[in-house]
Amino acid sequence: MKRLLIFACLALAAMAAPQQFQLNLDSVAAKASEHVDVSLNASTLQFAAKFLDANDPDEAKVKKLLVGIEGIYVRHFNFKSAGAWSQADLEPVRAQLHGPEWSKIVGTGSEDGEKAEVWLRTSGNKSVGVAIVATQPKEITVVNIAGNIDLETLSELGGHFGVPKVKPADKPKKEE
C-alpha cells in the first residue's frame, strides 16, 4: 500500500512536469505596455501537436521538435520606452538559474543593448531543460522549455511561422 502511494505520488509529479524555475516577473509586468504569458504543459502540447499538419514541412519539423518536450513556459514583455525596466528586475529569475542544476551555455551582448543567455538544466548527463533570458531595450523574453529540446531545430524555426530569420548582416540598427 505504501509503495503504491509512493508510486502514485511519483506518477502525479511526473505528469505535472512543472516549470523548472519560477517566472516571478510581476514587477516587470507592472512596467510593461504589453505582455504575453504562455504556459503549456505536456498534455496541452500533445493535444496541440495533433492539429499540426504532417504534410506541411514546417509543421512536421515542429512535430519532431516537440518529441521529448514536457512543457513550454514563456513570458514576453514590451515596453513603450527604453529604460522602463532594469536588469535588477530580472534578478529573481537569474538567481534561480545560478543553482547547481543549471549551467550557462552561451551569453551574448551587443552595443545595441541586446543581451541573450541560454542556460541548460542537466540531470546526470542528460539535458532536461533550457532557460532563455533575452533582453532588448524595449523587450524582455524569458523562456523555460522543460524536457529535451534540440536547440538547432528550434533555431531553424527562424524564417518560418512569422519568425524573422536573423543573419549576421541583419543585425538591428542602433536606436537613435
Partner: protein
C-alpha cells in the same frame, strides 16, 4: 351552368365530422409523439451535441496550436539571434 353550381354547392357544402372525431383528436394529442418519433428526436439531439462537442474540441485544439506556435516563435527568436552572432564572430 346550373349543373356547375349544383356541383360546387355539393362539394362545398358543410359536413359534420364523423362521431367521436373530436375525442379521437384530443386523445391523440394528449398521448404526445409516438415512440419512434421520440427516439428520432433523441438521436437528432445526440448528433447535434456530438457535433457541437467536436467543433468545440477542434476550436480548443487550434487555440492550443496557436499558443504553442507563439511560444516557439518567442523562444526561437533569441536562439536564432545568438546563433547568427556566434556564426558572425567565427566567420
Amino acid at each position: 351552368m346550373d349543373w356547375l353550381e349544383d356541383e360546387l354547392r355539393r362539394a362545398l357544402a358543410r359536413e359534420d365530422p364523423p362521431d367521436g372525431f373530436a375525442e379521437r383528436v384530443m386523445a391523440r394529442s394528449a398521448r404526445g409523439p409516438s415512440g419512434a418519433r421520440r427516439w428520432l428526436a433523441a438521436a437528432a439531439m445526440v448528433v447535434v451535441a456530438a457535433g457541437a462537442a467536436g467543433a468545440w474540441r477542434q476550436h480548443q485544439g487550434y487555440e492550443a496550436k496557436r499558443e504553442m506556435m507563439l511560444a516557439l516563435r518567442l523562444a526561437s527568436t533569441p536562439i536564432n539571434r545568438i546563433q547568427s552572432e556566434v556564426r558572425g564572430i567565427t566567420q
